[in-house]
């Protein structure tokens, strides 16, 4: 009975969407409203300044990596639910896409800039792009090339934006 109900709900609103919405909401709250988020931006902006103001930088970075790992864990869980099978390397082709999504969303590769909303939009753009390529019957390996090109263009734009504004970066090579 309840299984039937769940299945019908899933056709209206897939559980992946629900899970993503939850993760996005949590991340937004964390990044915008909490000290944790503020420190994340501060460390991204200037690691040295953060250290001097007494933010435990190393500990904070470890927490961030743990957070990153756990979201990857959630993604793995969802993928297992969907395919009812597991593989340790199922996420490998998604690495480039996720980096592309984040950069298109306005996250600086050098840290200290970016929003969750932007990242969501970036992810949607990449999803539309890859889905579109599949629909156009473009061969799979071309998808990597297209996504890779998008990443390069996005990085170039990110770089030149700072060249234009004359912003100086410390600790970035």
């Amino acid at each position: 009975m309840s299984g039937e109900l769940l299945r019908r709900m899933d056709t209206i609103l897939p559980y992946q969407v629900v899970a993503t919405a939850c993760v996005v909401a949590c991340a937004m709250f964390l990044l915008r409203r909490t000290q944790f988020g503020r420190h994340t931006y501060a460390i991204g902006g200037s690691m040295e300044a953060s250290e001097r103001t007494g933010i435990p930088v190393d500990r904070h970075l470890i927490k961030l990596y743990m957070l990153s790992a756990s979201t990857a864990g959630i993604a793995g869980f969802l993928s297992t639910l969907r395919f009812t099978a597991g593989s340790a390397v199922i996420g490998d082709p998604l690495l480039l896409s996720s980096i592309a999504a984040v950069i298109i969303g306005g996250v600086s590769l050098f840290g200290g800039a970016g929003t969750i909303t932007g990242t969501v939009i970036g992810a949607l753009i990449i999803a539309v792009l890859t889905t579109g390529l599949v629909m156009l019957n473009v061969e799979a390996f071309w998808q990597f090339i297209v996504v890779g090109t998008v990443v390069i263009v996005a990085v170039l734009i990110d770089q030149s934006r700072d060249l234009i504004t004359g912003r100086q970066r410390r600790g970035a090579s």
Partner: protein, 265 residues
């Protein structure tokens, strides 16, 4: 003058075979602006770093606020009330003014018995504005990132942060470098404001006019040693340059041989 706020006694710091600071003693009283002068490599910065907890003195003692100071970490010095404003400012350029003043010491609102804590941005913004107003620093808006501000405005934010957190001693390492002329004036004005509030300032700079504009007393270093300690009113630029290049040395003829001798009363 009552007991000095900071008393440095015979501090020596060596890096391998190089003696960066050799037996320097000095005292800083409350509400006093002291200029620390010297050529590049004279040991000014090393001395300052010993005071602010970045380096550990090999020999000698530092007394702060009546207690022997043993700072293992810059944060220890900060907690005791020694704020250092560095050349490169130590601000997070991507955050706004309020966030920078409260960086690392954010004010939080508590929900569900402290289970969830969120940033109290309106409160921090209000406090920042009040602080800046009391220092007569005017920013049109406090919510834009620091990187859009000028060098002098950023310097002002750094000073405001030091004052907000009740700094007992402010150390400034070449604060007017890379600033335009009106901004240099503003920074000097802020130093005077600090003095009026009874906060002593150690000012490191190469710029002689700045020194004559704000300091009460001067300490000149050369080759790691303190070669002169003078009241600003009793010296002139020419004499200072002679000290800085090592052409004159009070310690050699015994004039400044008494450790931490106070020349101003």
């Amino acid at each position: 003058m009552s007991e000095p706020l900071l008393s440095v006694r015979n501090v020596t710091k060596r890096f391998g075979g190089l003696t960066a600071v050799a037996g320097v003693s000095c005292q800083i009283g409350r509400g006093e602006v002291v200029g620390l002068l010297g050529d590049n490599g004279a040991g000014k910065s090393t001395l300052i770093k010993c005071i602010s907890g970045v380096h550990h003195a090999d020999e000698g003692e530092i007394f702060f606020d009546g207690k022997k100071a043993q700072f293992l970490h810059p944060m220890d010095a900060r907690r005791q009330g020694i704020e250092t404003i560095y050349q490169d400012l130590a601000l997070a350029n991507n955050l706004d003014v309020g966030a920078n003043i409260f960086l690392g010491r954010e004010v939080k609102k508590r929900y569900f018995g402290g289970l969830i804590k969120t940033l109290d941005d309106p409160h921090m913004l209000r406090e920042s504005r009040q602080m800046l107003d009391s220092l007569q620093i005017n920013f049109p808006t406090l919510t834009q990132p620091i990187e859009s501000l000028s060098g002098g405005q950023r310097q002002a934010v750094a000073i405001a942060r030091a004052v907000y957190w009740d700094a007992k001693l402010v150390i400034m390492d070449e604060p007017t470098n890379n600033l335009g002329v009106p901004e240099q004036k503003k920074v000097l004005e802020l130093i005077r404001t600090l003095r009026q509030r009874g906060v002593p300032v150690i000012l490191i700079t190469h710029i002689l006019p700045d020194i004559f504009a704000v300091t009460d007393r001067l300490i000149v270093m050369h080759g790691g040693r303190k070669v002169a300690e003078k009241a600003t009113a009793e010296t002139d630029a020419e004499e200072l340059v002679q000290y800085m290049v090592g052409a004159r040395d009070d310690t050699r003829n015994g004039l400044a041989a008494i450790p931490g001798k106070m020349l101003s009363s």
